[in-house]
Symmetry: C2
Subunit: 113 residues, 2 copies
């Protein structure tokens, strides 16, 4: 098995992480298409490093996106197209979510073989 592309290729700390924990509502309602667009759009933002994402069969998921600075996260949150997605997310796609913005201070891993 390849370890790519699930793991984000992050630099030496410090950098920032946005931990987005969510539970989806039932049904797609345009979610998959918009999620793909948001990944595409986020990747174009200044300061974007990468992301890691998993959703279980029960609808609970965690997406962590990594950013160079708090300013780059704020700029992405204020992006017009992203704001539309945030609004639909709140009203239609997510039963509940928690967003935590954190500064990564230390990082280590198991080397890939």
């Amino acid at each position: 098995m390849s370890t790519a592309p699930a793991f984000a290729n992050t630099p030496e700390p410090p950098y920032y992480a946005v931990i987005f924990s969510s539970r989806r509502t039932d049904g797609d309602n345009g979610y998959v298409e918009m999620a793909e667009r948001m990944v595409e759009l986020a990747a174009q933002q200044p300061g974007f490093i990468g992301f890691e994402s998993v959703r279980g069969g029960d609808g609970f998921g965690i997406t962590v996106s990594y950013w160079m600075s708090a300013e780059s996260i704020a700029a992405w949150k204020a992006d017009i197209e992203h704001q539309v997605a945030q609004k639909i997310g709140k009203s239609a796609w997510y039963e509940h979510y928690e967003i935590r913005i954190a500064k990564v201070e230390r990082a280590y891993g198991k080397p890939s073989v």
Copy 2:
């Protein structure tokens, strides 16, 4: 659907997050039993707040545990029984993993209905 218990009940920031991204190897090899024991043991540690965890069908997973301080994370890492689990994790359960220790500075969510 209930939103509990997938979401961790975290306090007002600041607090700490340990983001553990991993890809499992094939087969159980005692993993499930040890994972349950580690959850039980972590919950007894001073400074432990809670955790959120998802693993997809492809073996990639994200577990985020929340802690009151960097010191409480260091103490948990040094726990003897946890050290045994870390060793087996590296040799048997995980093909690859990344651990990122981050200070949560801001947090907000969608209120539960």
